[in-house]
């Protein structure tokens, strides 16, 4: 709740800061300060929810899990501001507005982690989505950005329609929007409810870019200004996942109904893994590869949802943290380069050893190599699936795809370390380097001691 309020207020404040502060660099500091405040405010709520959730009008229920997830999201955003905050001004004039939009999205994410009413789910998703449509099109001169924005908007609204249809059908069956009252698990499954659940699965799959609802992802991530892609593909996506998880684990986890949607969702997971990983193999642009990688990673995160157990919950937090941090880091470096193709990375290790090392560590993390956070992230989702017991076929697909993923992640490493070239790199400030080192350290620390995060849940 604190997080919601503080982020929403920060958004408003940043709006005005953008109006009144001339120096764009300074806006960034306001944003960083605001995110810090939000981070602390959010954690301050932890003791009060440690024993039980904090409920507000049956609309919001702040749980331990929610607070920790918010902390992860806010912390990752902090890193994001530190690493990429100065890139905002390159996109356009309205730096303050961009920050404000990002804070609004964060407000949506905090809602997504704590809603307890379908209406709030709807609002959360919308609050997360609408600013994204705008951010995607923030670079107004660029046709690519325009295209991304329009595509995202059209498809996003379409999926909103589907989400609403689903909610309505569920309401028709259950008579309430309250998550705890949706108890449709008992007895025979009402066709309306089942239909509604499946439609919600589709809509949320769209938001987390799971196949076959992923089509917007590569284009939008590719077309959007890189600095916003970085944010959209990581923290926002994690937010969508947490909504997914919360929705299904609180309401539809038990009974015969779960069989239906787990089947559909596991098919979606498998298709997502395959499409995401296969498509990423052939990309030439690292940015686009990362877009596909985000689809592939979404496939892994879906495991947590499908598995429906505690490990899944822990896994999604860890995964969100690992994936977000690593991807934000990669994007931060990517933005320092002129050429986004793999060739653009050739020989980076010689010219900028720190950047190269950072990207290498992040790629390891994304590939799930031990000692990086990504390893435990993958570990958790896999073990969630294995604990579930009936998903071994999915696990097999997953490890095959994980092996494929090594292929495209390591292409970057190969380009940086084993090929020669003269990459064009923008000058890198000391602050950026420090932030990068901090990020690397975070990835490694989480990879060595995931309990530092897990012990809170």
């Amino acid at each position: 709740m604190n997080a919601l309020i503080s982020t929403a207020l920060s958004g408003v404040v940043l709006m005005f800061v953008g109006l009144f502060v001339r120096n764009k660099q300074h806006i960034k500091f306001f944003a960083i300060a605001a995110i810090l405040i939000a981070f602390i405010a959010n954690l301050a709520q932890y003791p009060s929810v440690e024993l039980g959730g904090y409920v507000m009008y049956g609309m919001i229920e702040v749980t331990k899990f929610g607070v920790i997830f918010n902390a992860v999201a806010l912390g990752a955003t902090l890193l994001y501001f530190l690493l990429s905050g100065s890139e905002f001004e390159k996109v356009g004039e309205h730096v303050g507005d961009y920050f404000a939009l990002i804070f609004f999205i964060l407000a949506g994410i905090t809602l997504a982690s704590s809603f307890s009413n379908l209406l709030m789910l709807f609002l959360a998703i919308e609050i997360m989505s609408i600013p994204q449509y705008i951010l995607a099109g923030a670079d107004k001169k660029s046709l690519k950005s325009n295209e991304a924005s329009l595509k995202y908007f059209l498809m996003g609204s379409f999926s909103t329609g589907i989400l609403l249809m689903g909610i309505t059908l569920i309401y028709g069956a259950a008579g309430t929007f309250d998550l705890s009252g949706l108890g449709v698990g008992a007895g025979s499954v009402h066709p309306l409810a089942l239909c509604g659940i499946i439609l919600i699965v589709f809509a949320l799959s769209f938001k987390v870019s799971a196949a076959p609802f992923h089509f917007w992802t590569p284009d939008v991530y590719d077309g959007s200004p890189t600095v916003f892609t970085s944010f959209m593909s990581t923290i926002v996506k994690a937010g969508a996942f947490v909504a997914f998880l919360r929705m299904f684990h609180t309401s539809f986890a038990g009974g015969s109904i779960s069989q239906h949607w787990t089947l559909i969702l596991s098919i979606i997971t498998a298709v997502t893994l395959v499409i995401g990983n296969f498509s990423a193999v052939f990309q030439q642009s690292v940015k686009r590869m990362l877009a596909y990688s985000s689809i592939a990673q979404a496939g892994f995160m879906l495991f947590a949802v499908v598995a429906m157990n505690n490990l899944g919950g822990q896994g999604i937090v860890l995964y969100a943290a690992a994936y977000s941090i690593a991807t934000i880091g990669v994007f931060a470096v990517l933005m320092k380069l002129k050429d986004y193709t793999f060739e653009g990375f050739n020989g980076l290790a010689r010219k900028q050893p720190l950047l190269a090392a950072a990207v290498a560590v992040f790629m390891f993390s994304l590939a799930g190599i031990p000692v990086t956070a990504g390893f435990f992230a993958k570990y958790f989702v896999l073990s969630a699936a294995i604990q579930h017991g009936h998903l071994l076929w999915l696990v097999i697909i997953a490890i095959l795809c994980a092996a494929i993923s090594v292929y495209y992640y390591f292409r970057v490493i190969i380009a940086m370390y084993f090929k020669t070239g003269e990459p064009e790199v923008e000058p890198v400030s000391g602050g950026f380097k420090a932030a990068l080192i901090l990020t690397i350290a975070l990835v490694l620390v989480l990879g060595l001691f995931p309990n530092l995060l897990l012990c809170w849940i």
Binding site: M15, M59, I60, L101, A107, I134, G137
Partner: protein
Amino acid sequence: MVLSVIALVSALGVVLSKNPVTSVLCLIVTFFTIAGHYIMLNAQFLAVVHIIVYAGAIMVLFLYVMMLMNLNAELEPQKRNWLKYAGAISGGALLVVLVAALRDASMPALSTQATEIGLIQNLGQLLFKQYVVPFEVSSILFLSAMVGAVVIGKKD
């Protein structure tokens, strides 16, 4: 019943008409029929809001944009035919599937008796008591939409 038929026909009109302006007008007709349904379903408040928001504001906005861009039937981009049919067929298939899925649902009949829940008084009570949080939260949505309109719409 008549309303429903009009609704469906005009909805099809939206989809099928070649001229965008006709589409808009068809859509407005549809909205009115839906508002009619609202009244039949004792949702008077919603019916009013619906007319105001949709027919009054949103559709006008649409029309305005369309006029601004000076779109008309000739300029209207047309899909190749088979894509059209594919679209129609898959939409139809979706309909069939959904209907098949919901066919067996045994639902009660709606009484003709009027209920009071749709009155503005009751809804207002609900809105500002239980639903105060989403009400507040939706302000964030509006703020961001506002900011967005500024960011996107403003000429640099």
